[in-house]
């Protein structure tokens, strides 16, 4: 089994190389098509034409596109993704400092989406054949129609503005220091032994992660339900009942694990999308993560930064997909043993 998983991961790594190359090249082309001049932008407004030209040469902008890409690629392989135009710092450093906050938010949201999805799916399935089924079904479609950024606004409005229950700006209460050990705020707060920072960070995480989790749970719910429906038509369920197993034993012992397989495939795709969903939630809650940085970069046409963040999102999505596929292999004996 371990060998199969390692083979799969190795295969994915090999496949990831051309994907990342093509993605970065595409990014490069799209961003170079912009009608903005990064050289002029990185200089003070009163710079002379000569100065701009010199800067263009320095940045390699006078060379053909392929050559520019080659230069960028060479730098990227050495960890140099270029300097952000607006912050005048290494794009790689900027991403590294914001990525942990985004991962923290995404993981919390994934957990919420997973738990709500599992519970909701089981409830939807249990309601089959009852009068409540159409109501619950319609409700799940309506929930499906609320994307993460609407949830963000609704929760912000209800719990923040109306009820004053929870904070909705930033990652911790203003005035508290932000520790820097690993970059993961919750972990760092515990590491330096500041429970107040930890609690404040938790409070600030609640609304954004729930907003994101709520937006993705209906899909998981509906897939789990329809997978359970499919599984219950299988002969082995009938046979398990004919062996005298109770409905509880049939559901837990035989149906759930089989229904989990298609659900997991979907969850993989969804978690990839969920990760990018952090962007809007971060903007709405002014959460200091990579998404806010991205929107900043986009508004200011900060090309090196956009390129680096875009690529980071791709890498994370590829990692999530590989992890989910490995889990799928572990759970599915047909792929594991031949």
């Amino acid at each position: 089994m371990i060998a199969t998983v390692i083979t799969l991961i190795a295969r994915r790594l090999v496949a990831a190389i051309p994907i990342l190359l093509i993605v970065s090249a595409l990014l490069f082309c799209v961003l170079r098509a912009l009608p903005v001049d990064p050289a002029a932008m990185s200089l003070p407004p009163n710079a002379t034409i000569e100065e701009v030209e010199a800067k263009r040469k320095e940045m390699g902008l006078d060379k053909p596109l392929v050559q520019q890409y080659a230069i960028w690629l060479k730098g990227a392989l050495h960890g140099d993704f270029g300097a952000s135009i607006q912050f005048r710092r290494q794009a790689g450093t900027l991403v590294a400092s914001t990525l942990p906050a985004t991962i923290q938010l995404a993981v919390a949201a994934m957990a919420i989406a997973g738990i709500l999805g599992l519970a909701g799916g089981l409830v939807l399935f249990r309601l089959r054949g009852t009068l409540l089924e159409p109501v619950a079904d319609l409700l799940s479609i309506l929930l499906l129609s609320i994307p993460e950024f609407l949830w963000g606004l609704i929760l912000l409005f209800v719990f923040g503005v109306l009820l004053h229950l929870l904070p909705f700006t930033g990652a911790v209460a203003p005035g508290l220091p932000i520790p820097h050990v690993t970059g993961f705020l919750l972990l760092d707060a515990l590491l330096i032994g500041r429970l107040d920072i930890f609690l404040s960070a938790c409070q600030h995480l609640i609304l954004p992660s729930i907003a994101l989790g709520l937006a993705f749970s209906p899909t998981i719910m509906r897939v789990l339900r329809s997978s359970l429906f499919d599984v219950y038509h299988e002969d082995y369920i009938t046979q398990a009942r004919l062996r005298g197993l109770s409905e509880q034993q049939v559901l837990i012992g035989h149906a759930l694990k089989n229904a989990a397989l298609p659900t997991l495939t979907l969850a993989g795709v969804q978690f990839g999308i969920l990760f990018s969903g952090t962007l809007l939630v971060e903007v709405i809650y002014s959460y200091p993560g990579m998404g806010n940085l991205m929107v900043d970069a986009v508004r200011n046409a900060d090309l090196p930064l956009i390129q680096t963040i875009g690529l980071t999102y791709c890498v994370v999505v590829l990692i999530i997909n590989t992890a989910v596929d490995s889990l799928y292999v572990v759970m599915n004996p047909k792929l594991r043993v031949r």
Partner: protein
């Protein structure tokens, strides 16, 4: 006390606010240690009894009358929990499709252990050794290894043995086996049947054996009930009933089934068994519309149960005069193979690369190994073999759906290559009739459009009048009323679909038809209709046919020559009489031996071997 006793058991379904009985007033007594056979065509209600015992009836169905007593206790009013406690302990089930009846994500060991844990609180080590003992009793070698394996690593026969071992693990007093061999290869039938019979005898279990095969029922059942449209139309000791049926349906069913021993005419019952929906509006005997002995009284009232002999009964007014049903006059003759070869296959090979990955090199699988044969004009040749023997691959190679690795295919003396197939209009000369009549017909086309589909292919643009004219001819050929032309496939039965399927292939007047298992999955009475249709069409339209089949009786009936395939190779070929009368290859012998004898009173060596 009886192991199972039914008294006027009625199972009904609600259709359009009417209540229609799917099983009506079924009564029987099953003594411990005996086997009761339930036989009938699909839709007769034979699986409904097993479902009723477990009370796992399909949605809309319910028990509406009578009683069903297990060891004296009525199961019908019994609380669900109490009944469930019996399942898997006192009452066990052997399923129809063993491959899908085991949970694919759990090992055999885990599933066996779950079952044993429920039976009693034995220790884990005890359960393990008991599982091994049970699997060994089911004649599975390497039982300890098997427990660590998953269902997909086992063959269908092995899965069924595991399920039989599980069924008998609790020492049940009643076992219900629902078509336990239907999903398995022919050569697996005798060993599985034998295993069930042996286990049943050694445990002294009463058994209900559900099957569509009258010959098989005669061999293993003590008593038999023949079901038609939900009613037990005949019952009694198995051999006596089947050797000398009192109900015309039982007799007709036997005569509709082709014989392995001789080529005789098939009795063709018109139309088909009424559906539940039709039953709601039927009076009198439900078999009357198809019965050769029908008289005026038959359509007025339901016939009473008449006892033609001791311990027997038949629901027919004419039960005492039945054996005199005459066969049709036509005896199909084996077509002479005097003509010149229309199809010639030389050294045909097909290899696939299979598997292979980052760490392993791909293996080569040879699906067809050096196949050579000829088919003459107007000749019906059979290609028999088990699943995976390569017979369907040959069909695909012939019609060009797959390309051969090597070898030549000659049609009327001209070699077929991907290029010539496009130019020489081979589409007209060679056509294929597909196996699954549901998948073979586009559900959005009407019958007229389906049967004349060849007339809109390529640059041909026949106008609608032309197509309707051809539709009328083709519908006449396949014996279907003209008003069927506007129907959709969804409005046709399986047998009717298969006729449309044949008509479509015949539209462009081919010289040879490739027919892949075209009667498998159809009921005997429908199969007889199709076999007679094919024989008649050959005489009228003059075409040759390669019939791919696993059913030796069908082959024996329809074909003059047979090719036997085994693991990709044609291991034996020759005239049907010679090959079936004196098989040479061990696989041919095994295939022939796995068909129960026609004569219900004759002994079946495959079953005797165990005793």
């Amino acid at each position: 006390m009886f192991a199972l006793q039914a008294k006027d058991l009625t199972v009904s379904v609600r259709i359009d606010s009417a209540t229609v009985p799917a099983i009506r007033t079924l009564s029987f007594d099953l003594a411990p240690g005996k086997i009761l056979g339930l036989v009938g065509e699909s839709g007769a209600g034979k699986s409904m009894l097993g479902r009723a015992i477990a009370q796992l009836l399909p949605p809309g169905f319910s028990i509406t009358g009578g009683s069903l007593s297990f060891e004296g206790k009525d199961l019908v009013p019994m609380p669900a929990a109490e009944r469930r406690a019996l399942l898997g302990r006192a009452i066990a089930f052997i399923p129809q499709a063993p491959m899908t009846a085991l949970n694919p994500v759990q090992t055999i060991g885990a599933q066996f252990d779950e079952h044993l844990t429920r039976l009693d609180g034995a220790s884990a080590a005890d359960r393990h050794s008991r599982a091994i003992a049970m699997l060994e009793a089911a004649r599975l070698p390497n039982a300890a290894d098997l427990l660590r394996q998953y269902p997909h690593q086992l063959s269908g026969g092995m899965c069924q043995r595991v399920l039989i071992a599980m069924a008998f693990a609790s020492n049940p007093r009643l076992v219900i086996a629902d078509e336990p061999t239907t999903a398995l290869d022919v050569t697996m039938h005798p060993p599985i049947i034998r295993l069930i019979a042996d286990m049943q005898k050694s445990h002294g279990t009463a058994a209900i054996f559900i099957t569509h095969d009258l010959r098989l029922a005669a061999q293993i059942c003590d008593d038999v009930i023949v079901l038609y449209a939900g009613r037990a139309i005949e019952s009694g000791p198995a051999r006596a009933v089947l050797a000398n049926p009192a109900h015309p349906y039982t007799r007709c069913l036997q005569l509709a089934n082709p014989s392995m021993a001789e080529r005789r005419a098939l009795y063709v019952m018109p139309e088909q068994m009424p559906s539940l929906r039709q039953l709601a509006h039927m009076a009198g005997c439900h078999f009357a519309p198809r019965c050769p002995q029908v008289t005026a009284e038959c359509s007025d009232a339901a016939p009473p149960d008449i006892s033609p002999a001791e311990e027997r009964s038949a629901a027919c007014f004419h039960a005492l005069t039945t054996p005199a049903i005459a066969l049709g006059e036509r005896t199909p003759d084996a077509a002479s193979s005097s003509g010149r070869a229309v199809l010639e296959v030389q050294g045909l090979q097909k290899r696939y690369a299979a598997g292979g990955g980052l760490l392993s090199a791909p293996r080569t699988v040879t699906a067809v190994k050096d196949a050579s044969f000829q088919i003459a004009e107007n000749e019906f040749v059979a290609l028999v073999g088990e699943s995976g023997s390569g017979k369907s691959t040959i069909a695909k190679l012939l019609v060009g759906l797959e390309r051969p690795t090597s070898g030549r295919i000659l049609l009327n003396g001209e070699e077929l290559t991907p290029e010539t197939r496009q130019t020489m209009q081979s589409a007209n000369a060679m056509q294929m009739v597909f196996q699954d009549p549901y998948s073979a017909l586009n559900p959005r086309r009407r019958v007229a459009s389906l049967v004349t589909q060849a007339m809109e292919a390529g640059s041909r643009h026949a106008d609608w009048d032309e197509r309707m004219a051809r539709t009328r001819e083709l519908l006449r050929d396949i014996g279907m009323p003209e008003d069927f032309a506007t129907r959709l496939p969804g409005q046709l039965s399986g047998g009717q679909r298969q006729r449309v399927n044949i008509a479509r292939a015949l539209c462009a007047i081919p010289k040879i038809l490739i027919a892949d298992e075209i009667v498998s999955g159809l009921d005997v009475s429908i199969q007889a209709q199709l076999l007679n249709l094919l024989a008649r069409l050959r005489d009228e339209l003059d075409f040759a046919m390669l019939i791919i089949s696993h059913d030796l009786s069908v082959v024996r009936h329809l074909c003059s020559r047979v090719l036997v395939m085994f693991r990709g190779e044609i291991v034996e070929q020759g005239p049907v009489e010679t090959v079936f009368g004196n098989p040479q290859h061990p696989h041919t012998k095994a295939l022939i031996a796995s068909v129960p004898p026609d004569d219900p009173t004759a002994a079946w060596p495959m079953l005797q071997a165990a005793n």
